[in-house]
């Protein structure tokens, strides 16, 4: 048994001094296996929506705190939590789940401002930030702060209030958490200052949490279930990482034994392959979770 499998990993006379796993046809087979796995995951998402996905630990309170912290770092006043704005943010998230879309404007043309209006929030300036598929608040905040347009909303001095919607549901067959931030400054607040009214802007930002009289709502759940979710993103990443590590490991062994035994072969550069795959592996490791809009 040991002998029959060793040729996959160790260069020897039997495999012409090149580990079989590193030969082009075996690598193509591995790629095919990976693509097949991807197709199975997508198929499961279609036929059993909600089986795949994950529960995030993000809460509106945490998002509020982190947002305020970012504003403080930039010398800006904290945003006031507004439950009416949170209602519009939650409605927006629920609408994305119900109508199955991921955008500022819905397929039927509903804009973020329609949600502000639907809850009776009259604004002079307003903005919206969206995020999905994040597991924790720190990663979510980092993503927003790394994006110039989203950051501009978070550290925007024009905004006075914020509402946050954190809703769990099924989007595109996969269970996920949508985070919506609605920023605004009430119309009367500007009128009091006799300031010229400005048009609403679509951007992304977070609001800060000051000690507020209103309580921040818990995460809403559109579909209750006891299932332990499997994240398709995490699953893909784990399988990809295993395959990368396997091939890089075999390349190291192959390179070491070839060097040690002073074998002359007619193949590509082992050092180059290791370098290339290590860089791709690094890309995979540094890639953050989730998406923002």
């Amino acid at each position: 048994m040991k002998y029959s499998f060793s040729h996959f990993f160790i260069p020897q006379e039997k495999n012409n001094h090149r580990a079989s796993l590193l030969k082009s046809h075996f690598l193509l087979l591995l790629i095919a296996f990976y693509l097949l796995n991807q197709s199975v995951i997508k198929f499961i998402s279609l036929v059993k929506p909600g089986i795949l996905g994950y529960s995030s630990e993000i809460t509106a309170q945490k998002v509020l705190e982190k947002t305020n912290a970012e504003r403080q770092k930039n010398g800006l006043p904290e945003l006031q939590y507004n439950s009416v704005l949170s209602e519009s943010a939650t409605k927006k998230a629920q609408d994305m789940f119900t109508s199955n879309y991921w955008a500022h404007t819905s397929p039927n043309g509903t804009t973020p401002w329609d949600f502000f209006k639907s809850v009776g929030y009259k604004y002079s300036v307003a903005g919206e930030n969206l995020a999905r598929d994040f597991y924790d608040t720190d990663s979510l905040m980092k993503a927003w702060m790394d994006s110039p347009t989203h950051r501009e909303n978070i550290v925007n001095s024009k905004y006075q209030e914020i509402g946050i919607g954190v809703v769990n549901g099924i989007l595109g067959g996969v269970k996920t958490t949508l985070v919506v931030q609605h920023f605004g400054t009430p119309l009367n607040a500007i009128a009091t200052k006799n300031t010229k009214e400005t048009k609403p802007v679509v951007t992304s930002s977070l609001a800060q949490a000051t000690p507020v009289p209103q309580s921040v709502p818990e995460t809403k759940v559109l579909s209750e279930t006891k299932i332990k979710y499997i994240s398709p993103l995490a699953l893909n990443k784990i399988i990809g990482l295993i395959m990368f590590i396997l091939i890089i490991g075999v390349l190291f062994v192959d390179g070491y034994l070839t060097l040690k035994n002073n074998v002359h072969r007619f193949t590509g550069s082992t050092v180059g392959h290791i370098g290339f795959l290590l860089v791709i592996l690094l890309f995979m490791l540094v890639s953050q979770q989730g998406a923002i809009f």
């Binding site: 994006s147 893909n236 990809g240 007619f266 795959l277 860089v279 998406a291």
Partner: protein, 87 residues
């Protein structure tokens, strides 16, 4: 530290390859959350690696079809696993 013979023989070519990898890494980090930008960096890096291999083996005098196919498959392996895992 053991430096493989192939690197000792052509140090400049491997320094060039190192610069290509480092540039790719910096550009990927710079792309941040832009999936389109990330994809372009990955495709660009794989293309650069492939062209480096052509140059490397041409200068060594062993540029043959089986080696070209090997580099193509390695580049495809990297692209496929990364793009389908993340985008």
């Amino acid at each position: 530290m053991i430096i493989p013979k192939e690197v000792r023989q052509k140090p400049l070519e491997y320094i060039l390859l190192g610069i290509v990898f480092l540039t790719g890494l910096i550009l990927y980090l710079f792309a941040g959350f832009d999936p389109h930008g990330r994809r372009l960096v990955v495709y660009g890096l794989a293309a650069c690696y492939f062209f480096w291999s052509l140059l490397h083996h041409y200068k060594r005098g062993d540029l043959h079809l089986s080696i070209v196919v090997e580099y193509l498959v390695i580049a495809l392996f990297g692209i496929a696993l990364l793009t389908f895992s993340l985008f």
